[in-house]
Amino acid sequence: MQVNMTINGDAVSEEVEPRQLLVHFIRDQVGLTGTHWGCDTSNCGTCVVLIDGEPVKSCTTLAVMVSGHDVTTVEGLEIEGELDNVQQGFIECHGLQCGFCTPGMMLTARALLNNNPDPSEHTIREAISGQICRCTGYATIVRSIRWAADRETPVAIGSAS
């Protein structure tokens, strides 16, 4: 069946099987492979994308359920060649090692900062508690998000408009 949504601001219209999961739709049909496909069981959180500004695990969401909504993937964080503060923070504070969990981590961080531009370390840890980093690099991930928070301006990327 036909689905229509915006992904990173672009209108996308595609034919899908109803059973197509959002993560595979984004990666295989739309070709945005920045969204990673991990545990397939809604535990690891690397497949997180923003739907209407809120982080959602795309391995446990059907593409057809998102028709009519706004999706932001990790590719949508960078705007006109300028990295999002969260992305810059991950560079500055060594927020990634192997990089597999990074897209989900960064999108969850972006949604957190949109709602709360000055989160405590505890709040950051709570927000990313649905994401797993198997390099166990959590300390630097938290530091990266805090780095971004210190430079936060009230621009809500990916939030419902």
Binding site: P18, T41, S42, V56, K57, S129
Partner: protein, 291 residues
């Protein structure tokens, strides 16, 4: 790669439309709310519906209100709203206790109250919460609606009182004076299913417990409301001895199984200890001694 078996998809536009679709499509159709219980079951081919009726557009089912001496919660209310609701926290702090330890914040953005109850997983937390609070479930069909007590809602594991042409639309919880409630859960790691959890609610009359309920999760069928516990609580004065006694009753009235989460003996011990703790906190809250 886990992918559900093929199915046909319909998106409901209203409660009436959803029920009409369900009636037309029959027993092979399922409603899909947040999908965070149903889709994993479908990916494992443990559930194979021929039709999915998406009810995420039914904004009339997203609400938490106080009305007619009750708190009423729409079936599509998501975990996140249950966690953040000040109205719920004020009257039934058990909700916030439980929601803090259900899955993780991203999953809580999607999962719903109605979906959790209708999934009827014996390890699911909100069934114990709602049963402890003496909640009722409003079930609608094309011919009308009926109110089913939480204790009658679960027919068995993964089975509820909701019929093929019916829909759970709302949960109603009576507001009674001098109440306190609390939830205690032990899990292997943050966000996991419970090894065991215990929810308690009490209603005080002066220094005496007028009524009380305890619901357990993950320890077998028929534990979301344990009758002998309520019998022991009614008319009793709160004390450590009472909590111990009621904890032992709870442990005696559950039937956990040994699995990778623990042995029967360990789970029975947890049922006892967590019931003691949840009751102690529920009473303290009813007496205004603890938030």
């Amino acid at each position: 790669m886990q992918v559900p078996a093929p199915f046909e998809y319909e998106r409901a536009t209203s409660v009436e439309n959803a029920i009409a679709l369900r009636e037309r499509l029959g027993e092979e159709a399922r409603f899909i709310a947040g999908g965070h219980s149903l889709l994993p079951m479908m990916k494992l081919r443990l559930a194979n519906p021929e039709y999915l009726i998406d009810i995420n557009d039914l904004t009339e089912l997203f609400f938490i209100t106080e009305e007619a001496g009750e708190i009423r919660i729409g079936a599509m209310t998501r975990h996140r709203e249950l966690l953040e609701s000040e109205l719920l926290a004020e009257h039934f702090p058990i909700f916030r206790d439980a929601e803090k330890v259900i899955a993780d914040p991203v999953v809580r953005n999607r999962g719903t109250l109605g979906g959790s109850l209708c999934q009827a997983d014996p390890s699911e937390d909100l069934s114990a919460v709602c049963a402890a609070l003496d909640a009722s479930c409003l079930i609608k069909s094309t011919t009308g609606e009926r109110l089913v007590a939480m204790t009658d809602f679960h027919v068995g594991p993964y089975e509820t009182a909701v019929g093929d042409a019916e829909m759970l639309t709302e949960i109603r919880i009576p507001l009674k004076a001098n109440s306190g409630s609390a939830y205690e859960k032990v899990e292997r790691r943050a966000g996991d299913w419970a090894v065991v959890s215990s929810g308690a609610a009490v209603w005080m009359d002066g220094d005496v417990i007028a009524d009380g309920r305890v619901g357990l999760a993950a320890v077998g069928p028929n534990t979301t409301s344990i009758g002998p516990v309520s019998d022991a609580l009614r008319g009793a004065a709160p004390s450590e001895e009472l909590y111990q006694q009621v904890g032992e009753i709870a442990a005696a009235n559950c039937s956990p199984q040994t699995d990778q989460r623990g042995s029967v003996a360990y789970k029975k011990h947890l049922a006892m200890e967590l019931t003691r703790r949840s009751l102690r906190r529920a009473v303290a809250r009813a007496q205004g001694q603890e938030a």
